[in-house]
């Protein structure tokens, strides 16, 4: 049988590793071979010094609290290259998502852009309201001027908002 690797760290939290399963997303950190394929193809490895195989390793060593304190969990552009490249179906891109989710559920801060997008969804149903665009002819265009129909957001906005609040707070 596998040894309980969580004892390798005094700060290890078995509970937090377990919480990776808070959502059914097929994350499988214990299958990782540390081959580094994910990291070699990572879109932001050079720009942001993100090494997905190290993040996966830290998770299985129980170093989730350290990761939650680090900006590295937000240094992923969700291009899904690592997920497709992994020979063991570890799913590194999902590991990043779940760590972000756990961080926020645990009271961690939500990056401003995400807060703004969520508030727009609650207000309009979409991540932003329809904006005006200045064309190359220096004229200002909106949906109406372009002959496009009005946005068709949720009709029962109150229930939609209540449901969003419930769903986005699940696990908290």
């Amino acid at each position: 049988m596998w040894a309980d690797v969580t004892v390798l760290s005094e700060k290890a939290s078995v509970e937090l590793v377990r919480r990776l399963n808070y959502f059914p997303s097929n994350v499988n950190v214990f299958a990782c071979l540390q081959c580094g394929k994910c990291t070699s193809g990572c879109t932001v490895m050079v720009l942001m010094e993100n090494f997905p195989h190290k993040v996966v390793d830290m998770v299985r060593l129980g170093l989730v609290p350290e990761l939650l304190k680090s900006d590295v969990i937000w240094a992923c552009t969700q291009c899904q290259k690592c997920r497709d490249a992994c020979p063991q179906k570890v799913n590194p891109s999902e590991v990043f998502i779940v760590l972000r989710n756990i961080s926020i559920i645990g009271g961690g801060s939500v990056p401003d852009t995400y807060t703004s997008m969520l508030s727009k969804v609650l207000e309009y149903g979409f991540i932003q309201d329809a904006i005006e665009i200045v064309g190359s002819d220096s004229l200002t265009y909106d949906r109406l001027k372009l002959g496009l129909s009005q946005l068709n957001g949720p009709k029962d906005m109150d229930t939609f908002q209540a449901n969003c609040m419930d769903a986005f707070q699940r696990g908290a």
Partner: protein, 296 residues
Amino acid sequence: MYGCISEGCIALEYILYPGCLSSTDQYQYELSVVNVLKSLNVDFSYAENVNCCGLPLRSINSYGWVYLSARLMSVMESYGKPCILLCNWCHASLSYVKKLLNNNEALMSWVNDLLAREGLRYKGDLKFKHIIQLLCEDIGFEMLRSSVKREFKGFKFSVHPGCLYFRPNDIGRPDDSHEPRMLMDLVKVLGADAELCLDCCGWAIYNTNTSTGLTLAGNRIKLASKTDGIVISCPHGGIMMDKNYEEACKVSGFKGDVPVLYYTQLLGLAIGLSPREVALNLNKSPVNVLTCKLGI
């Protein structure tokens, strides 16, 4: 090969869901899709009572994402027609949530309890296609070829299908995850040469780290410097490489003119629509370079 419906025989009616970014920002995408579909005699109507697919918000809470995608699908199911999506994220999100719900009864009953408060129910039988898939599979190359009035002979485009059109493989994507060919074939059918690029436009990281996002977009634009432009099919690429063209080029130290436009804009020009009908005046990248070469 792809399926094909011969000219004038498209029996299907579709509902159209443009998605957040196309309908609130990247109007040139929605408008060019609408005008191209009309020109090709494809019947469609807009879906109403719809919402964001939730994928951009998945970083906050995955259950929130599942609710939003399931709600969107349940609303669109009620039309009983196949749905056209314009955004890679929407398509990936619905594919992924559909798979999750089909394999997880607890998740399914949780989401249906929420949906029931609005009188909705997710059944799981929605058929949806990305516009690129629709052009390849339902309209078909023969009809496209016969509709071309303005060929792009001698042009070479850098084709950018966008990450989520072909990744991740395990949720089921419309195209091959290592060598996506749909957008390549669609560009070639207009008479142009095409080279493939599978890079990321950087939209998702742009949300938390602006300069990294812009660097990725700028580097991507730089790669296409020897072509006649970048052809995209996802509004995220449009935001990063067209809307942010100037900034992205600046951040990555690139000086040059690379038009960035949606495939439906290119197709529209090819089938005889005017630059205005495909809303080229809303692009921020130097698309005038392309229209000058075309002499329009």
